[in-house]
Amino acid sequence: MRVAVQAAAFDIGAELARFTARAKGAGAIVSFTGIVRDEAGTLLAMEIEHYPGMTEQSLAAMADMSALRWNLAEVLIVHRHGRLVPGEPIMMVATATAHRADAFQAAEYLMDYLKSRAPFWKKEITATGSSWVAAKAADEAALNRW
């Protein structure tokens, strides 16, 4: 299991290569990467604030839960904070299992929990000002399926 909360950029390919090397015996690996959208050219930057301590703890708990529920051979969560520009990766998750259905499900579970239960807050910076991204009711509702 690897959980990383960092300001620095990360290399998706290198993360996935190391993940694959750790995922011994797995037959399926699913990864998801979130990228900062440019919102039709209006977004200058995204600032991500988090709660040091609680963030790492809550991500580790999500990783543990998913590993137990889907019998994961390996699980990865990387999430950045600080100032990011459009096109930059914000976060990634990866899951490794014997068969693909479980790997897809575990990755979706991690994403649903990460969106609504990990203490991150996004602020959008545009040419005309800045505003905090509002949580979506649909993201909260998505937790009900688990």
Binding site: G34, E49, H50, Y51, G53, M54, Q57, S58, H79, I90, M91, M111, L114, K115, S116, R117, A118, P119, F120, W121, K122, K123, W132, V133, A134, A135, E140
Partner: protein, 82 residues
């Protein structure tokens, strides 16, 4: 003494990221009632509980949760990670 942490627009409205307060509040809701009375900026930050979340010692909690033994209380908007 209890440590209060504020994040995102809660931090901006109150104007500081953390502070230590002396309180005898029994629950989170009691603490919020005390804070609201302090100054307008607190009243503004705590105006709408539906748009607030709270964590006690880094665990998400409800507003009626007791504060006995709690050292760190964090207030923030609904999370927007991912």
């Amino acid at each position: 003494m209890i440590t209060l942490l504020y994040f995102a627009w809660v931090r901006e409205r109150i104007g500081l990221p953390r502070e230590e307060v002396a309180t005898h509040a029994a629950t989170v809701a009691d603490l919020i009632a005390e804070l609201r009375l302090r100054e307008d900026r607190y009243a503004a930050a705590f105006a709408d509980l539906a748009s607030l979340r709270v964590a006690l010692d880094q665990q998400l909690a409800d507003f009626d949760a007791p504060l006995a033994g709690v050292r760190e209380v964090a207030f923030f908007p609904p999370m927007t990670g991912g």
